[in-house]
């Protein structure tokens, strides 16, 4: 009786251990991938005569602070990481959602820029047009909504072209990117240029106080946009997994023909997927304006759109994965400055390590081989090539 109980509890223990390993597996492999990338990065640092330990210490201190740096600098380090992470989360979600719908949105960059432009426009011009001072509770949401709708329409056009003419979204998002960036230059150098006499930069005037997020903590740049980004990630998870629209997006993404025969309106879903994707990218721009810069300046958004692709892929197109990937990328970008200060290693090293992380997370066969971890056997299909 006693021994039977023991074996029972033992088997219970092993089965729960097994379940734990299965549960941790999706996190374990990425963590080991990051470790492997850091080792590869360390070898590179060593090979050019740098000190890898000091470099990584700088990277960590610069992104999350340390006891040595003191509370003030540590708080600032964490605040800056959150500041970097905010647009990454929105733009990453934009690309990830499109992936779920079987679409490849390379145009987050342009949608983000236009979102920022229109958010600024509403931010500085709307009270003047209406002739009244708006309260924050109305003005701020309107400014964000402006960016959101603009980004959504910009991408929605591409979705509509795909749905009705078959024009490939990859070409059209790339072209719309350049059109957006040229239009932004046109507007910021022309009608929307900051008219103050000392200004020579292509930038908009400052937005009204009523269109700004209140500071989260005194003296730190981190803003409520970061919290909004986290909520948005949860919302997108809910949208994708718990609503009919989300189901339709995923079905069209998995197999548009099957979705069509199952009665899904494929055209409508394609357009909506692109609209929501663009809206998220536009929101990234709007939040940068209303929470951080209080204006749009030419060239501030360079590269977010392309980093967003890497973030969406690293997060395996899962909203929570996107948040984690964004924070990782943000921490590395933010910590790089201190790393460079301590070791004179160029900031570009970070891009290399990020490429390795993406590589090892994607090629988990390599990581599993190095650390002798058995594969769970299932292959998650992330993207479907060009979709056809």
């Amino acid at each position: 009786m006693q021994s039977e109980k023991q074996t029972n509890s033992l088997s219970k223990f092993t089965s729960s251990l097994k379940r734990f390993i299965e549960w941790i597996d999706p996190i374990l492999v990425p963590l080991l991938a990051i470790l492997t990338s850091m080792i590869v990065g360390g070898i590179i640092i060593k090979s050019v005569g740098g000190d890898p330990i000091l470099a990584y210490k700088g990277l960590l201190e610069g992104s999350f602070g340390s006891a040595e740096l003191g509370p003030v600098k540590s708080q600032r380090a964490m605040s800056e990481t959150a500041v970097w992470a905010t647009p990454y989360i929105f733009a990453g979600l934009a690309v990830a959602l499109a992936f779920k719908g079987g679409l490849f949105n390379i145009g987050a960059e342009g949608q983000l820029a236009l979102g920022a432009v229109f958010s600024s426009l509403i931010g500085y011009a709307l009270p003047g047009w209406l002739g009244v001072d708006l309260p924050t509770i109305i003005h701020l949401p309107l400014a964000i909504l402006g960016g959101l709708v603009m980004g959504g329409i910009w991408a929605g056009i591409v979705g509509a072209l795909k749905a009705y003419t078959g024009g490939h979204e990859v070409i059209n998002t790339i072209m719309m990117n350049y059109i957006a960036l040229n239009s932004t230059s046109f507007l910021l150098n022309g009608v929307m240029k900051d008219p103050s006499p000392t200004n020579v930069i292509a930038r908009t005037p400052l937005i009204a106080e009523s269109a700004r997020f209140a500071p989260m903590f005194e003296g730190l740049r981190v803003h409520w946009g970061f919290v909004l980004a986290l909520f948005t990630a949860v919302f997108i998870w809910w949208l994708l997994n718990k609503t009919t629209l989300g189901f339709e997006i995923r079905t069209v993404g998995a197999n548009p023909d099957a979705a069509h025969y199952a009665g899904v309106n494929v055209k409508r879903t394609l357009i909506l997927t692109m609209f929501i994707s663009g809206a998220l990218a536009g929101m990234a721009g709007a939040i940068e304006v209303t929470g951080l810069n209080y204006r749009h300046e030419l060239g501030f958004s360079q590269g977010y759109g392309f980093d967003a692709i890497a973030i969406a892929l690293l997060g395996k197109s899962h909203p929570i994965g996107v948040v984690l990937a964004s924070i990782l990328f943000a921490a590395m970008r933010n910590g790089a400055t201190r790393m460079q200060f301590l070791t004179q290693m160029p900031v570009d090293l970070i891009s290399m390590i990020q490429a390795f992380i993406l590589l090892f997370v994607a090629a988990d066969a390599i990581v599993r081989f190095i650390f002798h971890i058995k594969s769970t056997g299932e292959r998650v299909v992330l993207t479907r090539g060009w979709g056809g």
Partner: protein, 371 residues
Amino acid sequence: MDWKRFGFIAIIIVVLFGGVVAVGQAQQRPLLIVTSMLATTIAVATPLTLGALSGVFCERAGVVNIGIEGMMLASAFFGWLAAIYMFHVFEYPTGISITVGALFAIITGMLMGLLHAVLSITFKVDQIIGGTVINILAVGLTGFLNRQMFFGKGSVFEGSIPNSPGILPAIHVPITEILSPLCGANSPLCIENIAAINRVFDQKPIALSAIILVFVSHYVLFNTRWGLRTRAVGEHPKAADTVGINVIKMRYANVLIGGAFAGLAGAYFTIESVPSFEPLLTNGRGFISLAAMIFGNWTPIGAWAAALVFGASSALQINMQIFRAVIPPHLAFLQQSYIVGLIPYILTMIILTGIIGKTTPPAADGVPYEK
């Protein structure tokens, strides 16, 4: 891409040229405008054509390549670096240095292709990820080495970027020499015209090879056994395997060929166009190549046509700036460089959605092959 579509693209290019001639003839003779625009068109189209060919070979064999941008960037850097090393460190003459530079660019492209092949064929990584890894890696690697090789500890150049040995010279086609005697003695205008036409034909080696490679690629893909096998592997690898084609080998070979094309495109930037490198110099042209490839429906000639439309629109943009002063008042919006700058992109979208419509990738494009 049937002939009707090519005809349409030809009409568009003629209209673009005609528009500039109509505006600019108050200031410049039409022949000179057309020849200068042709030169710009070919120059802009060269890296786009080669980049698109890179994509065509990879994707016809069933491997999506969005890493063209990164392959170009890395090749441009290493080609340039090799030329500098040959010239300054090993003290070879200019000609040898830049030739070695060009070869290094191609080898770099092939190595990047090999990385993409290992990831996407052997490790069956999602091919979009493989391409993205190459894009980010290229940015990091070139930025890092660009600083480290010249300003880092123990650099042979001790903190300065030396001058590159130079760029590839144009190959002279002796049209002027042959035709100018026909002009007679008293017609300088005739000789000038022939010289202007001659300048269009005096292309540099990579620009010339890009045009030749378009037709060679077309022939190889659609008229040889190799091409048939490549397409079979990209359309239906299982069937290809059944009849004894080695799917893995074919895919590896074609991705390496694609890498070499991207490498040549990279060489164009630093070995043929300008003798210098700056971080991020490819500036999205790899992605435009990708668009040209899809636009051309995964065919070499179609992709070339797309690249030429792009080149012609860029030529229009540049010339509209030159002729700013003589733009008639009712077309004043053409004086805005940002507005004219939109033309290539809007035109591409109109042609794509209005005329070409749905493009069809190879059936197994992006799908890893598992036995």
